[in-house]
Assembly symmetry: none
Homo-oligomer: 396 residues x 2
Amino acid sequence: MDGIGDRPDDRIEGKTVLQYATMKNLDGFAKKGMNGIMDPIAPGIVPGSDTAHLALLGYNPYEVYTGRGPFEAAGIGIKLKEGDVAFRCNFAAVDEKLVVKDRRAGRIKQGTNELAKAVDGMKIDDVEIIFKEAVEHRGVLVLRGKALSSNLSDVDPHSNNIRIHESKPLSVDAKRTADILNKFVKESYAILKNHPVNIKRNRNNLPPANIILPRGAGIFPRMRSMDEKYRLSSACIAGISLVKGVCRLAGMNIIDVKGATGGVDTNIDAKIKVAMSALNKYDFVVVNIKAPDLFGHDGDVSGKVKMAEKIDKALEPLKELDCLKIFTADHSTPVTVKNHSADPVPITITGKSVRVDDVKNFDEISCAKGALCRIQGMGLMNIARDLTNRSEKFGA
Amino acid sequence: MDGIGDRPDDRIEGKTVLQYATMKNLDGFAKKGMNGIMDPIAPGIVPGSDTAHLALLGYNPYEVYTGRGPFEAAGIGIKLKEGDVAFRCNFAAVDEKLVVKDRRAGRIKQGTNELAKAVDGMKIDDVEIIFKEAVEHRGVLVLRGKALSSNLSDVDPHSNNIRIHESKPLSVDAKRTADILNKFVKESYAILKNHPVNIKRNRNNLPPANIILPRGAGIFPRMRSMDEKYRLSSACIAGISLVKGVCRLAGMNIIDVKGATGGVDTNIDAKIKVAMSALNKYDFVVVNIKAPDLFGHDGDVSGKVKMAEKIDKALEPLKELDCLKIFTADHSTPVTVKNHSADPVPITITGKSVRVDDVKNFDEISCAKGALCRIQGMGLMNIARDLTNRSEKFGA
């Protein structure tokens, strides 16, 4: 339940969303389960959705997360290799002096596929260029070659009416990669400025998508798959590409569910149904429901309460499901903060092997009194393996 | 509240000092706050006041604390440079065979300033000697030069009627530093034995302060300031120089408060008043009240109870202060132990953003049931930053 952890809010009697919402099923799981609170990464560290999911899957984000690029790339289905350097990109409109006129190219919706194809596949100094469009004006650039570095500053100036930035190497070994990146950006302008898609846009008085602005460089590290780490066949059900990307990099199978939009209209019932049947095939299935986080970012307390209650209803079929079940969040997104916070998240684990405590409600305060006390996200998969008797003994 | 954590004591109905004392304000903060227990360093590790304060400020004492010397030096106002090796010292009385007759030189109170000046500023093998007197027979020695090591045994034999020790290098790279230190000690005897202060002491039948005995070598590490680490302007209000020293090394501003003695007679009201007005200038103010620790060391249970109640009264003005407030201790000093212990300390955090739990009393047992569960000291500043919405997200 993405971002469902919260802080007290005066609009709901000084309670948190989970304390205020009426949640028959989650409270029921808490009653039958073992409860606690969890720091997704570490106390006081504010997680992103990507770093949090990495940690919950047992990866140390400080080791494997060098930037958002590779996770975006994986999210849109690019198969990365160790050493690839990936960037988030925008199609943007620049003038002939490379001053940015619209860094989202009018939020272009059509034709980015053709524009992407026009730059994809080229080579610069023996480095292979992979470029793929994403939603609207977004795309992902991957540099594939030897001895590349992600220690680079952004080309995207992050606002309009400024000239595009030259990417600067932030360490000596990054100089060559910065040169290649800067060449790519100039090349993208040369190729895109007269592309038929842009000629048509100019004719229609729309800002052209005549350059590609990379940011958020990250190098794809060696990441052992979930199967290698835990000997678990595993699958992910998520609406948003960032979470799919993390799970794909972890070697998990991505199951697409009809109606799982990653938005507030997402079909939670469908996700639960698919997850339950996926358990016939996989040892471990993770389901991400993004919507609570969106209400948190919007500061919409009543929307978040209703969403918590909607999720709770959708969990009804899980009452009959006989397996180890873990209910938690990747981070808190307090409606009073409108952003992620480091506040620990509640966690409830149910199943035959768990120590049942006397916690009666699934919320941040009640769960803190449970038998799990306060744990860290990176230990969660080990706990789950142990509770399903899959772990090997360390020592004799 | 230095050393306020405790263990049960039969003299107060088997309760801890905090359980037994009547504390209207601290209990009030606990009721309105988020509570827990905290291991200042780690479970089972007995903190010093210096290492505990380092940890609570977010520094790993295992990285930055190599010995007490640098912290004593900073405490008496010596500005250290990275690589300086500092020692705690005593002025002592030795005979001509360098056998220690009184390792505190009769707890000499006057003239140490002149004696210190007589040895301060000399050079031994290109190494600069900085020496400054502290309270009574105490002083601090700093060696400043290239490639020094703190991996040395003490010169101070730690009891009378024993010859002074030669400092021995405890690793190969410390040999030169040991030689310089031993030369300094002999030189101090040569200079001080006929110093006018000692001629006068001999005449008055007082033990001469005719040698300097170093101990507790420590090398001053690179330490990022609080401002660098957390982007917080910060100040420290403390009676004792050890705590001031830690805060000074952390780049904090030291505010001296009239009547803040570091003793049992300290003016707590004045400290609280100054702290509250300091918050107009600084983002973060830490106040240390040493007295509970002193009663702990003395095993004076009723004294410690009364001091807890006195502190509680002095905290009254904080009820009206609108900011994030943290009430805790640097370590436990149980009256039954008469020394520091590793028992976790209670912690209460109040402020708009905190998750209020149902803890009603500020003590070691009640707080353990709160929404913070059990945390470690090194995470505390990150938690405080997050609760005041100052943290940056790690990831997306």
